[in-house]
Amino acid sequence: MYKYDQYDQQMVDTRVEEFRDQVRRRLSGELTEEQFRPLRLQNGLYLQLHAYMLRVAVPYGTLSSAQMKVLGDIADKYDRGYGHFTTRQNIQYNWIKLEDTPDILADLAAVEMHAIQTSGNCIRNISSDQYAGAAADEIVDPRPYAELLRQWSSFHPEFLTLPRKFKIAVIASETDRAAMRLHDIGIKMVKNDAGEIGCQFYVGGGMGRTPMIGPMIREFVPLDQLITYSEACLRVYNRYGRRDNKYKARIKILVHELGKEEYTRQVEEEFAHLLTQGIEPPLAELERIKPYFDDPAFEAGASDDLDLSDPDFRLWVERNTHAHKQAGYVIATVSLKPVGGIPGDASADQIRLMADLAKEYSFDELRVTHAQNIVFPHVRKADLYTVWQKLDEAGLGTANLDSVGDIIACPGLDYCSLANARSIPVAQKISERFGSAEKQAEIGELKLKISGCINACGHHHAGHIGILGVDRKGVENYQLLLGGSEGADTSLGKITGPGFDEDGIVDAVEKATNVYLANKQGEERFLDTYRRIGMDPFKEAIYG
């Protein structure tokens, strides 16, 4: 994985000391909260419902064991013994003290991490496919390109005060595992007829109160124009994106209001101009980055045999592992969704255990997924049973990936100052209702996503079943959506009808799954059946 050069390290170290001084001035009263707020937000420090919250960037979701271990240590030393992995492949700490923050950032900088641009109207952490570099179906590892974009977007002076926040995802396979088309810019690495690798650009996707699927605006951008084309997309947005209304300030609104054709025309015009300016980094920089993402030293001839005589292990292998490009290896996903648990939360001990296991069994590497799980990208099949046993002993052996128990949920009103309703208790109740392995197996793949407000951090628009918490005169109420998807077949869910209370929404989810089970044909997933039979049978069952 990528290693900081002297410039990366100097930038991060300098920022730590700068923020240390800013915190000192805030605590001494030299800075008011109004003056300090944008400074702390630029360093990922929010004020949430109960305390300061620190959001730490995990570039394209990739972590080393040493980094993961520090994340666990921070949870112990500065927080309350746990961290929360987020839907943007980051980690959040919920109980941070302002006076500790510079030391936390220094601890992070020591392992090449930071919290810069995890807040504010700037380009946020670049996200990617959690299976990058390991999946059998990718045409190329997308992370070198994500890393180049990270370097370009870090402290980019022109894009630090955009109309709104800006999220970019990069993938390199037909199977979209990063919700690429629901980002401000989605980049899909593709191969053209000549066999050259390039970038397909999708712009103007997003969730929130106005969900949009990003349209493709260019089929192929050569690698030596990636940054220039990205700059053109951002520059048009920065120039014409609305600043008068924060609810209409995202690029999706600009693309929608201008129309894809006109936005594209303006981007192309800007692109042509920028090409004359020579802003593209030389391809040598990309070539410098690429070797950091070279394959690890896989064991040639590693055995593909797996002893599946332990039924619990068999179930976990069936659900939580994915084909690896290298014979004798698998990609293993650690579910952070135990039955009745809090989606995305892991204790300090669990975080450190995963760090240790990755060091020993996954070439020192882990990934954070946007579904709030952790991936060991390169596990030798011969080691898999040992890995699972150690995970299971620590409460991390749940076999439910992409099933109804693998729920994405935002922190909701239990932690978030923007939320209107709690998300986590609903996730816990659904997880318990559908907790049995038999029930989950019967239902199969079902992506259920819960947001506690219209900002949609829980991706409810993209859930096969989505749940949106709203405030009805001070009382929590939950709307049900069906038919969303964030994969290659991206679609937006539709609201079924009137909302429910906390128990009612759990019942409604069960009724929806019963309709699916009664109507499914062959190997259809929930989503397939919904798309075939439509909303009406579900509404009839839910509202009678």
Partner: protein
């Protein structure tokens, strides 16, 4: 009643105005009547708290209860982690929050 809440500058912890100072326990909250804005100006100016605001509340036999669910959750802690609330040993502590 009108009660005043904010966050401690150093820790970010939720605090409640008692009439003479700040407390972590909502039950210590005082009725600020129409004086909320003046207290906020003074206390934020003195760097004692930040992000302070006045909310509606009710004095019940069991204690002071903020009117809105968001402030009730702020008052006690996350409902999904009773071990992290202000009264982790009280199994009924969360009963009035939801």
């Amino acid at each position: 009643m009108k009660i005043l809440t904010g966050n401690d500058l150093k820790t970010g912890a939720v605090t409640w105005w008692t009439g003479v100072g700040w407390s972590l326990d909502v039950n210590d909250a005082a009725d600020v009547g129409d004086n909320g804005a003046a207290v906020i100006a003074r206390e934020e100016g003195a760097q004692n708290v930040f992000a302070a605001y006045v909310i509606d509340g009710e004095k019940t036999a069991e204690g002071v209860r903020p009117a809105h669910i968001k402030d009730r959750i702020r008052a006690l802690g996350p409902t999904v982690r009773p071990d992290l609330t202000l009264k982790p040993s009280d199994p009924n502590a969360l009963n009035w929050v939801i």
